[in-house]
Symmetry: C2
Subunit: 163 residues, 2 copies
């Protein structure tokens, strides 16, 4: 005979209350359960439990403070497009591992198409970007082409998702 075990937390669809909570917290994680509860015409307990559940189930990854890049002295943002010379998985994996450990790299994506990787880099100056390319990026093996473009102005940059 077959025993079907219902894994707790597996049936984790979001209802509209969950979505409201996520929308609020991704805008401002300092909002208290009490305030959120007031928005939802609920008491604190269910809101508190739902937040815990959303964390446990992985909808909420983490809580962070977002800093001002100009204030902390990293005003220069660049996108760097990298094409690899060889595409064997061992080369790719090594490159990815090395990229993860470079502090200037804020984002790195493996892309479909002619360019293999998109990197978003933050530095304190254009000269510091030069140093980054010269002493860190170009030191990695297996880089074929490398093309940098600089951000003139940030038009929009949000950590929120449209849920």
């Amino acid at each position: 005979m077959l025993t079907v075990k219902i894994i707790e937390g597996f049936m984790d669809k979001l209802d509209s209350t969950d979505i409201t909570i996520l929308r609020i917290l991704q805008k401002d994680s300092k909002r208290t359960a009490k305030e959120i509860a007031a928005n939802l015409n609920l008491t604190v307990s269910p809101v508190y439990e739902r937040i815990r559940r959303l964390e446990k189930q992985g909808y909420i990854r983490k809580y962070v403070a977002l800093l001002d890049k100009n204030r902390v002295g990293l005003p220069v943002t660049a996108f760097c497009q990298v094409a690899m010379r060889f595409h064997e998985s061992s080369f790719i994996e090594k490159f990815e591992e090395q990229i993860r450990n470079i502090e200037e790299v804020q984002e790195c994506f493996h892309m479909a198409g002619k360019v293999d990787f998109f990197l978003k880099i933050n530095t304190e100056s254009l000269e510091a970007y030069h140093d980054f390319v010269k002493y860190k990026l170009s030191k990695l093996e297996n880089i074929g082409e490398l093309n940098s473009t600089f951000v003139l102005k940030e038009i929009k940059h949000t950590s929120e998702f449209d849920i």
Copy 2:
């Protein structure tokens, strides 16, 4: 006669204590002032006051919950490179304003070089991306060229700055 007024909060250099606090909070904003104080061999009050000051002086922009894009149903990430047809400031400004109001757009940068704008887009599927381009992006006036590439894998993506 000239009166020189010292604006309060203008002399706001960061010392090593401030930097430690910022490093901790941009990793995990739920860390308590008590825990941070223990790290710094301080009591709670100065840590608390410094955090308030860092917020007021704009080093800390906001506190947010970061969600998992796959969990919330937006697994497809694309970069879209847009070149404008005309470059008069009125056209540019209008375009920027419209871009800010499109929910799928997570990041948008005005770039130096041949391509005018870099957009990072999140959608629930490739088809939804198609709809985004067809019904939203290409409806904007003044778009010259448009080139989309898709993220195969996110290698690194952090909200932290290397301070």
